[in-house]
Symmetry: C2
């Protein structure tokens, strides 16, 4: 990945890159502004991971970012403005993480094993703090309407790019679009459930389900 944050193989994703991650602007002020925004958004993600969506308070974020509430208000007038930035940031960062991980293992691979590799990479991406934040947002958006209005469109936007990038890595998936979509949807849903049940299931059973999913996703593609 280069300084602008684009890995090889990312075609559409760059178009959705949040301004916060758009490299180094010209002026010193703009650079400082971006740095502070980024600091605040990252702090917000920390809050999300540690205390959930209700723990994402302006106070906690400012304190954690080592910034003042005034500075925060300058960049994000209301709490929802910050949340909007967090949504974009989380989607983008998690997707880049996954794609980077996935593409790394892809060089000269037996095509029959592509789905298994993708599934394994996806499970790794699920165990990141970005995904934990994503989960909090996804669940909170079920009950907070203002959040839903930002989250669902963003999810759809990024999902389109996601699928586009995936088919891009293996063009023959276009011919098997339905099978690929099924396997993709299935793995995403199953892994999310796995993550939530993990606490109750324990590590052993979680791993067992993971293997099942991996095998089954591969079989779905061959269909």
């Amino acid at each position: 990945m280069d300084e602008n944050g684009s890995a090889s193989g990312e075609r559409m994703l760059a178009a959705l890159r949040p301004a916060d991650l758009a490299g180094t602007p010209a002026s010193w002020q703009q650079r400082k502004s971006v740095r502070t925004r980024l600091k605040l958004v990252e702090a917000a993600i920390d809050c999300l991971v540690e205390s959930g969506y209700p723990g994402l308070t302006t106070q906690a974020v400012a304190e954690r970012a080592g910034s003042s509430r005034g500075a925060m208000h300058h960049h994000f007038p209301t709490r929802l403005d910050l949340v909007a930035a967090v949504i974009d940031h989380v989607f983008y960062k998690r997707m880049r993480l996954y794609l980077g991980d996935y593409l790394k293992d892809l060089a000269g691979l037996d095509p029959a094993k592509v789905v298994a590799v993708a599934t394994a990479a996806h499970w790794r991406s699920v165990q990141t703090r970005e995904y934990a934040a994503y989960l909090e947002l996804a669940v909170a958006s079920r009950t907070e309407t203002e959040l839903e209005q930002m989250f669902v469109p963003a999810a759809r936007r990024y999902e389109e790019v996601w699928l586009s990038e995936m088919t891009g890595t293996f063009p023959f998936w276009e011919e098997q679009w339905e099978a690929m979509l099924r396997a993709n949807d299935f793995v995403i849903a199953a892994h999310m459930g796995m993550l939530i049940q993990r606490t109750v299931l324990g590590e052993t059973r979680t791993q067992t389900i993971g293997e099942i999913i991996e095998q089954f996703a591969a079989s779905l593609y061959r269909t």
Copy 2:
């Protein structure tokens, strides 16, 4: 189901029945007490479904239950006392719902189709408000430690009963315990993920995944 809230086929479950659902006590006072407690807990579940865990405030619950904050404090001194009651209530009610639904379709069924029937019944149980409340609690327990300390043990407790009841309906599952456990864990995780992704996926793709899960769960058992 009889008045005491036990359906045919429930062996262990009755032992976990919360006091709120334990039928009709002797004295008028106790009956009134139970009625009020139940009203409060149900109102709390409504809050959970509509506004999530942070929306489960003492004010909102009391107001929705048509009760006063004072009465509430009499039955549940602190908010966490109420939450504890809600946890038990949700687990118990949802499990009864599922078992009732599942056992209803079981009479004289081709054994090969049992898993498919169980999976379908489980998906129906996932679409209830009790499950929505359960989901909110499960996710909130990831970040709220006091909640986790009540929720995780309760989940383990009820899961044991769950598995016990399931094997009870088909004793030959004891011989295939591993396969049954795998299929069970898998379906539970996958359905939870499905529910959360539903908003983004839309109805068509959600249904497709549902069918995949159903078929695959059946194949898991035959293994």
